[in-house]
Symmetry: C3
Subunit: 344 residues, 3 copies
């Protein structure tokens, strides 16, 4: 049989600084994707649930969840960026730049902004800046992601290492407020909670209480919906233990949805400052979440503030984040640092 | 960690007669929800499957399944009504008042119409009348539901008991016929069965033959889609036996869809007279259903009659309903009493 | 209990040559069905993913996947054709005649074109030609299918056997090119692979590399979505081993989606020449696929060719098709022969 027409994925040597990769399969997203998003995650933020609520917040109607945009764009990059990835190491400088409306067609492209071979000569770290674009060529989302990728030829000489300088946090002034967003007539009763930005304090920690036990069918439906093709999520024969590794983004969406309970008014994602998939997640895990308020900022839109949150997903009870050795505790699945728009 | 911003649910003492509760997360429902409904339940009633069939019945196009309306409205009430419920005791005076069209935005509110503390002093029964409203402030659905709720403080003095007088059955004259509904050109071949109202007899019992084995992923997808947040449906650590309790509404939808086989022309739900979730349902249960014709009525719309049915869902083979002691047999899951519109 | 109003399915004696069967439950399909299709199968063909890509190929927007049309039409036939089928024996002369657009309402009818009693006197083979029609009474799909059906009365005299003459392969000149289809400005980067028709060779075999492990919930959601009511797919009590048999069409869709990897440009299905469900498929099976190029043809539309492919789905590794005895090897699930439109 011939393998020459199938995609075996890129290896470390295949990435050169400045390369621009056009990712395949542009995708039109509509209300079907939204319905599925609500079936897959316990999402209840009112602005993504109700056209009327969104209109009362100055938008033409309810956009698709910001994480739908993220997953669709991320999924497109997988065949080109992470098919041979050993590890998904981090995110930085992520920003949502424009809402995704039902009917929009998204495509994605990535620029290689850093490469650094590991000292073992068997793999290296690749940094890409990915941008998602809509049918009007407007950027809807951008983020930097770095992954560890295997070398094809362990004996090949190392290229010059280039590690990009990345901001630890997106500055509040760099957040892009969706056109028209206005929280001055915000309906707290319909949103589900009375807490506005000023009711939170930096350092406050919120246990989101609820837990969700994950089934294989659920994470596979979700991951396929985003056209993410990484074998480990779908093929039980890939690992010796027969387990399918759950796409890290599934845990992000679960945790974000669970955070409704205590952060119902942190309506829209604005930026992804950093993120770590601390430990792998598998079916039958019961996922819980807690948040810590890191920072707050007033913004130049009526009634709109920005709240910076650490969102932690755990397997089992919420608790500490790291052990005495500084490493993530084994029950920690996700440690995400993001900005959200919230009524001030 | 702080729990003060999260919703711990209301306790018995938190309900006062006449209170009006505005439920959170209004929801725009479209064709995505309908596609999922058809994936989750073996729904085949033609009026909810085909725009053309619905138009031939005098409607502008095919509405969302009446149980979508019910589940969306019910789901919204859960955080405020049944998060601490010990048991879902009953339904009465339910009526579908207006079809829900794709694109409609639903919200829900409940009025406390009864409270009665149990003699043990540890819980009480709360009666609420819930109404679902669309974006035009039209009521699309209303029903009374009563639940047993824990007291927060077992030592607190009992309030005055008020038990509302509820109709045992909605009168045929109180059924609201959707505007334009006309069964005079009804296509029985496309609907799937030749039986009109006059072909049924009061007392006739119909075994719906088919069975469906339930998976955890399915009932969780469904229950989440309705934004129902009750922990027992999602979190396997909530019960000592590690089982997730299946949302009673999931069994209603399963049984109603199964009833197509023998009642394909009982097209639209008109009223919910009474309902009991007789025994809990769990994944791996194989659900079957049977119906009994209770009553029939001619209505003031062309070709439209109303048939009152008892719909019983069972785990395993259909059989008797109650034992010698008058209690539901253990294999009975649901005993529902409803009106449907059917060609006369 | 009465069974007289429920559908027990037809037996062999119930089919008479020339009978036309109108199948129930016409169905309006929209973007919700498409979103579910992408969640259920790893579908990435760009023309069914992006309105913009489809427009660049001369279509008004992205149609629903051709296999959505097939499954919807096939599902409608099940209560009338295969409820008592012992085996699904074959397909022939299948052609997609018109794209299905979101919002279309499909219905189906079948004509009995052959009946042949088996020598054992207990069953017979029924041949039907099924056509799917849209709301404009345009045929969107037609195919011949033959099934083995039980006799009701084993002692009844055999009818005269009529076996229709069926083409082994649809001729390229009989393929119906969707109106406007134009691959002259085809974007290979967005489609995901550079290979055009001329890059393939007759006899070339392509291993599609990826594998998907199937869950019970997934195949039941899919099969229900197509309103397919065959008990064996849903009811774990139907077989002694407690297994649910997976709808053969689920395997077709899985294999077709997997074939993206190596055949990303075989965009649209044109004809179904033949097909065999070689062995039953069950949950926990990991499905892989390989294709063999059988034939190619240039067509009378700009840049459009037709490629005839054998698509084989296997449980476990791809390998040989038949054993020394000429029978399918036990790991072979599907052997499909189809035409697809591809850039020349």
């Amino acid at each position: 049989m011939s393998g020459k027409k199938t995609n075996a994925g890129r290896f470390f040597e295949d990435y050169r600084l400045g390369d621009v990769i056009i990712h395949a399969s542009p995708r039109t997203v509509k209300m079907g994707e939204r319905a599925l998003y609500h079936a897959l995650y316990p999402a209840r933020h009112a602005l993504y649930s109700s056209d009327i609520f969104a209109q009362d917040c100055g938008l033409p109607f309810s956009p698709l969840d910001d994480l739908v945009a993220f997953h669709v764009v991320f999924g497109k990059t997988v065949p080109d960026v992470s098919l041979n990835a050993v590890a998904n190491l981090g995110y930085a400088e992520g920003r949502w730049l424009c809402p995704v409306w039902p009917g929009d067609t998204l495509r994605a492209q990535s620029t290689v902004i850093g490469v650094k071979e590991n000292s073992n000569g068997q793999s290296g770290v690749v940094y890409v800046r990915t941008v998602g674009l809509n049918q009007h060529d407007e950027a809807v989302l951008e983020y930097v992601r770095w992954v560890m990728v295997k070398k094809r030829d362990f004996g090949a000489a190392a290229s010059v290492a280039v590690v990009p300088a990345l901001a630890k946090v997106v500055e509040p002034s760099a957040l892009v407020i969706p056109q028209g967003l206005d929280f001055s007539r915000y309906n707290f009763a319909l949103a589900g909670e009375p807490h506005r930005m000023r009711d939170y304090a930096v350092g406050e920690v919120i246990d989101h209480v609820d837990g969700v036990t994950i089934e294989e069918a659920e994470h596979m439906l979700a991951t396929r919906l985003w056209q993410n093709t990484a074998k480990v999520h779908f093929d039980a024969t890939q690992r010796a233990d027969g387990k399918r590794l759950i796409y890290g983004g599934h845990v992000i969406s679960l945790a974000r949805a669970l955070s409704f309970n205590g952060l119902a008014n942190a309506q829209m994602l604005a930026a992804l400052n950093a993120g770590a998939h601390a430990n792998p997640c598998f079916a039958d895990d019961t996922v819980r979440a807690w948040s810590e308020v890191l920072e707050m900022a007033e913004l130049d839109a009526p009634g709109v503030g920005a709240i910076r949150l650490r969102l932690v997903a755990t397997r089992g009870a919420a608790g500490d984040l790291r052990g005495a050795d500084g490493k993530y505790l084994p029950e920690v699945l996700l440690d995400l640092d993001y900005w959200a728009f919230i009524p001030v």
